[in-house]
């Protein structure tokens, strides 16, 4: 049975030689391994001829153990350890068999069949392990290929996703541009509505400027007459009047100036700079603009404008042109509502729009109320949505209240409350923290 150890060594060496073929290690190891395999066989015949079976077994086991040890230590062969590892049972069996043969030969003689079976089994084990390893390797190879395929797929998907991300980012950018364009066009649309109101508001102070300068010229003529007559007292009285008129001219000039500045501010993109603002003054200004704006378009329109301003209101930090736009929007809506109601209501209907300001705790409240058409219950939750409008196409952008919401709630930490009964009234309440 001793031949099995040397045969195993021979086969391992041959197999290693075959496996190495094609690798960079082959030239170095090729001849060495050929020689080694022959030596293994020769070793068997040499030892077999000179010693008894026990020594043959022990020497065979030692040969295999030496090869395993060498493969373990040799850097070049570290990938091929799997060829040597399955020999461990055979080495064990060889050592035990050899020792028993040498030390208790009678025992061996008695049970030699079992020892032969053990040696054969350990020998076969080597090939069984190799077959199993080969199968595992094949599976590993398949899974490596699969992994490579998956990696390619993942890479493709990643590229695809990145492309989609870029596209989405582009779209988002476009949407943002469109949004700011819409906001700007909403501003310009409301400015258009304002134009007539602004013209009217500027006309009044301009009339005063013209009239007071005309009358002052007349007064100077009169003053000259009085001076020529020697009535100094009257001349001084006239001079005082002229001085007063010049102040009036200046006052009304500034008034017109303020209106034009306000108009420019309104059309300009919001600077988002908050400044202490007199809400009463702001509300009054925009109420007049809105009213005269509509009045210029619809000559028969007239409404009772009621203002109730809490004079004790503190200045509130806000972006005045933004809050102005909110108020303008609410006024325009209120006028629209009473105008529409006027068309269907009887002659007894007295259209009215009121604005009330008040301080409530740590906030200020601005209440805009009209006795117009009111808001039907089924659209109450939609009125703040962008692009929602009840106006005919082309008349409303549907952005007024939605932008108002953004301005009040998002930019000023305030809130907008709506209270309305269809056919009766609508009340918008803006609350802004001081």
């Amino acid at each position: 049975m001793g031949f099995f150890y040397y045969l195993a060594a021979f086969i391992i060496i041959r197999r290693l030689n075959k496996r190495l073929k094609g690798s960079s290690l082959y030239p170095k190891w090729h001849s060495l391994l050929n020689v080694a395999s022959v030596i293994a066989i020769l070793l068997f015949f040499g030892i077999h001829a000179a010693f008894n079976d026990g020594v043959v077994d022990l020497a065979g086991a030692a040969l295999l153990a030496g090869m395993a040890y060498y493969a373990d230590k040799e850097e070049d062969l570290k990938d091929w350890r799997i060829l040597f590892e399955p020999t461990y049972p055979l080495i064990g069996v060889g050592v035990i068999t050899g020792l028993i043969e040498l030390l208790v030969n009678s025992f061996y003689e008695k049970y030699d069949t079992y020892f032969q079976i053990a040696v054969t089994a350990a020998f076969v084990w080597i090939f069984a392990r190799w077959a199993a390893t080969k199968k595992q390797e094949e599976q590993l190879k398949v899974s490596i290929e699969r992994r490579a395929e998956l990696e390619v797929l993942v890479k493709e998907r990643t590229i695809e996703l990145q492309k989609q991300k870029t596209e989405l980012e582009e779209t988002l950018k476009e949407l943002k541009t469109t949004q700011s364009q819409l906001i700007q066009s909403e501003k310009m649309a409301s400015l258009g509505e304002l134009t007539a109101g602004i013209a009217h508001e500027i006309q009044n102070p301009l009339n005063f400027v013209n009239n007071f300068s005309d009358v002052s010229a007349e007064l100077i003529d009169e003053m000259e007459e009085e001076l020529n007559k020697g009535d100094t007292a009257e001349a001084l009285a006239i001079a005082a009047d002229i001085k007063q008129n010049l102040e009036k001219i200046r006052h009304h000039g500034q008034r017109a100036d303020g209106i034009v500045k306000g108009m420019l501010q309104h059309s300009r993109a919001s600077s988002n700079v908050k400044e202490p603002t007199n809400i009463n003054k702001l509300a009054d200004e925009y109420l007049r603009l809105a009213y005269h704006g509509l009045r210029a378009k619809d000559k028969s329109f007239n409404a009772d404008l009621q203002t109730s301003f809490d004079e004790s209101l503190p200045l509130v930090e806000m972006v005045p042109q933004d809050i102005g736009r909110v108020l303008l929007n609410l006024f325009n809506n209120a006028f629209y509502a009473i105008q529409k109601k006027q068309l269907i209501a009887g002659p007894d209907f007295k259209p009215s729009v009121s604005i009330i300001t008040a301080k409530k705790g740590k906030s200020i409240e601005i209440l805009v109320k009209d006795n117009g058409l009111g808001i039907p219950d089924n659209i109450k939750d939609k009125i703040l949505q962008p692009f929602f409008t009840t106006k005919p196409t082309g008349e409303g952008t549907g952005l007024g209240l939605s932008l108002s919401y953004d301005i009040v709630v998002k930019a000023h930490n305030g809130k907008i409350d709506v209270n309305s009964i269809e056919g009766e009234f609508t009340e918008f309440k803006i609350t802004i923290p001081v």
């Binding site: 006309q203 009339n207 009358v215 007064l219 005269h292 009045r295 203002t307």
Partner: protein, 125 residues
């Protein structure tokens, strides 16, 4: 002749007083002022017999000039004061409404004070 000027712009008062300086000094005209339709009605309630002519703006907050005109025509017909309406919106519709409600004349802003003076002097005769 006593004239009531109704306008929500307070500076209309010194303007009229200066424009009609000579006439006032010569007691040809005498002006009083009201800042709203409501104020004008309250004034008329007290002394409508003194007032010969009313000059009223149309666009005022609260009671409009047209409404004031209707009220005057409704409540004070013995003797009826003359009423001239003034407006920045000199359109047909406003003119028609003013005349329908019984205005004696209709003037547009900016006021031509020379024309107004002529008209007032004609009325005075």
């Amino acid at each position: 002749m006593k004239i009531l000027v109704v306008d929500d712009e307070a500076d209309v008062q010194p303007l009229f007083l200066q424009r009609f300086r000579r006439e006032i000094r010569e007691h040809e005209f005498d002006f009083d002022f009201a800042l709203s339709g409501e104020e004008a009605l309250a004034y008329l309630h007290e002394r409508h017999t003194e007032i010969v002519l009313i000059l009223s703006d149309i666009n005022m907050p609260g009671m409009s000039g047209l409404e004031l005109l209707s009220r005057i025509r409704h409540e004070y017909d013995t003797p009826p004061p003359m009423v001239m309406m003034i407006t920045a919106y000199g359109d047909e519709e406003n003119h028609r409404q003013a005349m329908d409600r019984g205005a004696n004349d209709f003037l547009t802003k900016p006021l031509d004070f020379n024309l107004l003076k002529e008209k007032l002097k004609t009325f005075n005769k």
